[in-house]
């Protein structure tokens, strides 16, 4: 693992929140952001590839319930995260390394908080592991 964090961000919510968080500063250098048109675009394979590529933690930022432009895109994304977490468990990795997060565009502070928590989680895993 290379300690990277990957955040898949819906263009309509996660990306906006990320921009705000970035403007406020304090996001770790390890964070890589991948823009998607809707969280529903993300497949299990992309999440696993992120881990294969060395990510220590992966986050999916989707629109909050009942405000997804593609109606159910956020729900699909959440389900795929659940299934991917199950795979992580069965391959002997900590499912907590993958986080699904509902976020609204102006929630920059919350974005930073999720990233910070993930950062702490993975570094404590590294210490224990």
């Amino acid at each position: 693992m290379n300690g990277k964090l990957v955040a898949f961000c819906c263009e309509r919510s996660g990306m906006v929140a990320w921009q705000e968080a970035q403007a406020n500063g304090g996001l770790p250098a390890e964070l890589e952001v991948v823009a998607v048109p809707c969280a529903g675009r993300i497949g299990m394979v992309h999440l696993l590839k992120a881990f294969e590529g060395g990510a220590a933690g992966v986050m999916v930022f989707a629109c909050i319930k009942d405000s997804c432009d593609s109606l159910r895109g956020n729900l699909h994304a959440e389900k795929r995260c659940e299934s991917t977490r199950a795979i992580l468990r069965s391959v002997g990795m900590e499912p907590e390394r993958l986080e699904f997060c509902s976020i609204a565009p102006p929630m920059g502070a919350e974005f930073s908080e999720v990233v910070r928590t993930m950062m702490e989680k993975v570094s404590s895993e590294e210490r224990e592991g």
């Binding site: 394979v45 696993l48 590839k49 795979i87 069965s90």
Partner: protein, 222 residues
């Protein structure tokens, strides 16, 4: 189509534990469409296997391949090169696929990556239901094209059992009562009289009960 579902990843990991070069082969036919053994599932399983071995501190080579239809010799042949490179193959085609591979690649261990379940149809995204039992002697004509063998938990041919309530079967899991469906359908068709007749015991020799089945078409064969 033939419907199946991926085996738990840990089960597959346990099957291929000792190998260093593994090939995961999917099938572009039924199992691709039912989201169990297509290109995406091959990629997911291969990725999961790599991560699993990496977590155990082993770098294992996991290759990916697709066959058009894994139940056919000619298509299986298209992945020969990759099969020969691998020490073991995980097939995520229906149960026919691994067997076709096993007969083609005699020295290669082939492991199944999905549980093949039934012949059925997609109800909605993510839901498939069994529709045909492959009994070898179709009775749909009598039952308004709703199969009592595949869709009644007790394969009853003369009407519903006493466990049918509010359209649901006694086995639970929100299973529809096949006989309620038959009844509703024949009622709508104005053919309820079909159900008045006593149907005698079925000849099950066309089913699995006469041993492995084979269809020989003399009109086609030369």
């Amino acid at each position: 189509m033939i419907v199946g579902k991926g085996k738990p990843v840990e089960e597959v990991v346990a099957m291929v534990e000792g190998y260093d070069r593994i090939l995961v082969v999917g099938c572009n036919s039924c199992v691709a469409v039912c989201m169990a053994g297509g290109e995406k599932e091959v990629a997911v399983l291969a990725s999961a296997l790599r991560l699993a071995f990496r977590a155990k501190g082993r770098e294992v080579q996991v290759e990916e391949a697709m066959t058009e239809r894994q139940c056919e010799w000619e298509f299986v042949e298209t992945v020969r090169e990759k099969v020969e490179r691998a020490q073991a193959v995980v097939s995520i085609a229906c149960g026919v696929g691994p067997q076709t591979m096993a007969r083609k690649f005699l020295d290669k261990p082939i492991y199944p990556g999905i549980n093949t379940s039934f012949m059925g149809q997609p109800e909605e995204i993510g839901v498939w239901s069994e529709q045909c039992g492959g009994c070898g002697d179709c009775v749909l004509d009598e039952y308004g094209a709703v199969c009592p063998i595949a869709r009644c938990a007790k394969r009853m041919l003369n009407g519903p059992c006493g466990g049918s309530q509010d359209g649901k079967c006694e086995v639970g899991n929100d299973t529809d009562c096949g006989w309620q469906l038959i009844y509703d359908r024949l009622k709508a068709l104005g053919q309820l009289d079909r159900l008045e007749r006593n149907v005698g015991p079925k000849d099950w020799s066309t089913d699995r009960d006469k041993g492995p089945r084979k269809i020989v078409r003399e009109d086609v064969r030369v």
